[in-house]
């Protein structure tokens, strides 16, 4: 079996507890030569990269999800366990396990090392953040530690220049030598008694090889006195979230407008360059609009992940979860769900991608499920159009704008329904998993490493464009196809869309949508409106044969005011609070959960809520005389 090429590529795996600096080390070792994807069929992120050792060996390195043991309490930890044990069919069993430990916090890490020794694979302990440990006066006798544990030990400082030289040299030696398994696999899930015994053994090793720290980490303690303060801490968290929300919502806007108008201009250029016909429409409205619809999300995703990566590296994310735990916990959401849900007010797509900060699968699925209920910015054009056309510009008590009040009610309805859905999902549907306890290490504060953050941003952008982008693009082309085929017959009157498949579907849906007060024009506009919610406004304009232009929206408003009843308009608003009218969101849910099932569940529950809400609103409005 051992041909020359097989010796050429070694498979090493990084294992370690959360907050051991494992990912920073992975970034330092592989740089941009890494690929982030999902393990087949699960939401767990797979990070792999290639590392060239000084003497030219190439090592395939995989960064396994952080874990305190191999017991596999969550899908992430099951992946770590299965890869370490060589049970995962899609993954080559690692030749060497690099167990990464925070040198300032060895107790828990050494217990993991003792457990890993039973797996029977070659093992090396990497004492990461050794620079911080030395600065804090922690003296570690490496030879003694290695002898006591029976495992080679090497130090590293992932975020320092040259901090991985010693590690690379040892990896080089390992890659060149023989890497047969060191023994039989005798690992079994440890009992509580074995955990205690292993911890006692770890404590004994530490007593023998590690000098007690002269200076404890007083900086983190002092910062926490402010940041975890019941009043000041919450206030600062709100400020951080406010700035983040502003950034995703407002700072991204100019860039997004620039991208939109750039693609519009490109579309017009293509339109002018090509002969009129199907190809022209396909290039302009299918391909260019489709690509534009993918790229336009990038600014928000990059800004949001810049904040998330900085806060995570800084160590603040765990503190935010600490502060928000009770508030979110009431609705069955994890403290960390706060940031994804807040971001979803700008757009559900970065919000759903941001749920990666939640480790627990169940908490993450609940958050993904309710994120599209947050009133995203694409709903604003629909809301403002209908509100300005139907809600009078009056003031209650002289100062409360009725239009503003309706807008506020729509936002509130989104939030309340999100909390309700998560409560129901947790208590009735996701019960097969027990309630995960909230236990979280609050890591010492650290300055974020610019290079590591840059690599994180780069891999996010790449993953979005490659994976989510392709699905979004495919859906855009499909929607274009539905709205353009078949072509209207020669000399036909009325807009072309009225002869298309979209119109046929709209007509077919009409009897179903009649009870919620939707006429056939709305039914038809809902099909292209699947591309994005705001597209429905333009689609209504098309269906009502209104020429585009600056005043289009206003004209559509006038047209609607004369053609819809108030009950229909209110039903439409209620529909848009819930309706899964966004192909991109569905595509991202499909990608992030790795299953069509969760996309289908989200689509169906939102559709059901939309229908019920619109039905209720329409009929109550009709009874009250607004029909």
């Amino acid at each position: 079996m051992s041909t020359a090429t097989e010796i050429g590529t070694r498979h090493f795996a990084l294992v370690g507890t959360p907050n051991s600096g494992k990912t920073a080390l992975f970034n330092a070792l592989t740089g941009s030569r890494q690929k982030v994807a999902n393990y087949p069929g699960v939401t767990v992120e797979r990070k792999a990269g290639v590392l060239k050792t000084p003497s030219g060996h190439s090592v395939h390195l995989i960064d396994l999800p952080g874990t305190y043991s191999l017991r596999g309490r969550s899908p992430d930890e099951e992946i770590t366990r299965d890869v370490v044990l060589g049970r995962l069919a899609s993954e080559t069993a690692p030749d060497l396990l690099l167990c990464v430990a925070d040198a300032t916090n060895l107790r828990v890490a050494l217990r993991l090392v003792i457990e890993l020794k039973r797996v029977g694979r070659r093992l090396m302990l990497v004492l990461n953040m050794i620079d911080i440990a030395r600065r804090r006066g922690i003296e570690i006798d490496l030879d003694r530690l290695s002898a006591e544990l029976g495992v080679p030990v090497v130090t590293s400082a992932a975020v320092r220049r040259g901090g991985t030289e010693e590690l690379l040299r040892r990896v080089d030696e390992m890659a060149a030598g023989r890497l047969d398994p060191s023994g039989e696999n005798t690992w079994k899930p440890p009992t509580t008694g074995e955990l205690r015994a292993a911890q006692r053994e770890a404590d004994r090793v530490i007593a023998a090889a590690v000098g007690t720290p002269a200076r404890p980490d007083t900086i983190s303690a002092r910062v926490d006195a402010v940041l975890l303060h019941p009043v000041a801490g919450l206030f600062i968290l709100l400020c951080v979230l406010f700035v983040m929300f502003q950034a995703v919502f407002a700072w991204a806007r100019p860039v997004m407008d620039l991208i939109s108008s750039g693609f519009d201009a490109l579309g017009v250029a293509a339109h002018d360059a090509l002969p009129a016909g199907l190809l022209q429409s396909f290039i302009q409205n299918g391909v260019i609009a489709g690509v534009g619809n993918v790229i336009v999300f990038l600014p928000q995703i990059l800004i949001l992940f810049l904040f998330i990566l900085l806060l995570e590296d800084l160590g603040y994310m765990a503190r935010a979860a600490f502060l928000m735990d009770r508030i979110m916990g009431g609705a069955g959401l994890h403290g960390r769900a706060f940031i994804p849900l807040l971001s979803s007010f700008a757009c559900a797509i970065p919000g759903i991608m941001a749920t990666r900060v939640i480790d627990n699968r169940r908490d993450r699925l609940t958050t993904i499920l309710v994120a599209p209920l947050m009133t995203c910015s694409a709903r604003i054009p629909v809301y403002t159009l209908i509100i300005s056309a139907f809600v009078p510009e009056t003031y209650l008590w002289g100062w409360v704008s009725l239009q503003g009040l309706v807008m506020f009610a729509l936002y509130a309805a989104g939030i309340i329904s999100a909390l309700g859905v998560s409560f129901v999902a947790n208590h009735f549907f996701l019960r097969e998993n027990y309630t995960p306890p909230f236990m979280l290490e609050l890591p010492a504060y650290k300055l974020p490493n610019i290079r590591s953050v840059a690599i994180g941003l780069y891999t996010r952008a790449q993953m979005f464009l490659r994976r989510a982008g392709t699905t979004i693009f495919a859906m855009m082309v499909l929607i274009w196809f539905l709205a353009s085929f078949p072509r209207p017959p020669e000399g036909a009157e009325g807009p072309a869309i009225n002869f298309s498949l979209a119109a046929m579907i709209g007509y077919a849906l009409q009897p179903v949508l009649a009870p919620v007060g939707f006429n056939w024009q709305i039914s038809v506009a809902l099909i292209p409106g699947m591309a994005a919610r705001e597209v429905a406004v333009a689609a209504l304009g098309t269906v009502y044969a209104i020429e585009g232009g600056k005043e289009a929206a206003e004209q559509i408003g006038h047209a609607l005011a004369s053609k819809w009843s108030l009950a229909t308009a209110l039903a439409m608003l209620a529909w848009y609070i819930f309706a899964p009218q966004c192909a991109s969101t569905l595509a991202v849910i499909r990608r992030e959960t790795g299953s069509w099932r969760w996309m289908a569940i989200t689509f169906s529950y939102m559709l059901a809520l939309a229908y019920l809400a619109a039905f209720f609103t329409y009929n109550v409005a009709v009874i009250l005389g607004a029909g």
Binding site: P437, M439, L442
Partner: protein
């Protein structure tokens, strides 16, 4: 259940401790039926985070609502956990004033 000096070593759950409490872990006793997770699971998780008998702990912070969760210093790490889970950690006080 045989304690050398049960009367002189008052033992209470960490879940009831206030901010500033210093103590030593006496036992990890998860009572069945009081948690969403199975008792051995909670016990294992606590052990994996370093909550073992004999370890010294200090309650550093309390959450803003209902003083829950709590942040506990154990050796050189800080762990956040809910009071519900902390009820399983029996501690003896090391506070001079207490």
């Amino acid at each position: 259940m045989v304690d050398a000096a049960p009367l002189t070593v008052p033992c209470r759950p960490l879940g009831q401790a206030n901010r500033g409490f210093c103590g030593r872990i006496h036992a990890i006793e998860v009572r069945e039926g009081t948690h969403g997770s199975a008792a051995p699971e909670i016990e294992s998780r606590l052990l994996e985070l370093g909550f073992v008998e004999g370890a010294e702990i200090k309650v550093l912070h309390e959450g803003p609502i209902g003083r829950d969760p709590i942040a506990v210093r154990i050796n050189d790490t800080t762990i956040a956990l809910r009071r519900r889970e902390a009820m399983a950690i029996m501690v003896t006080s090391l506070n001079r004033s207490a």
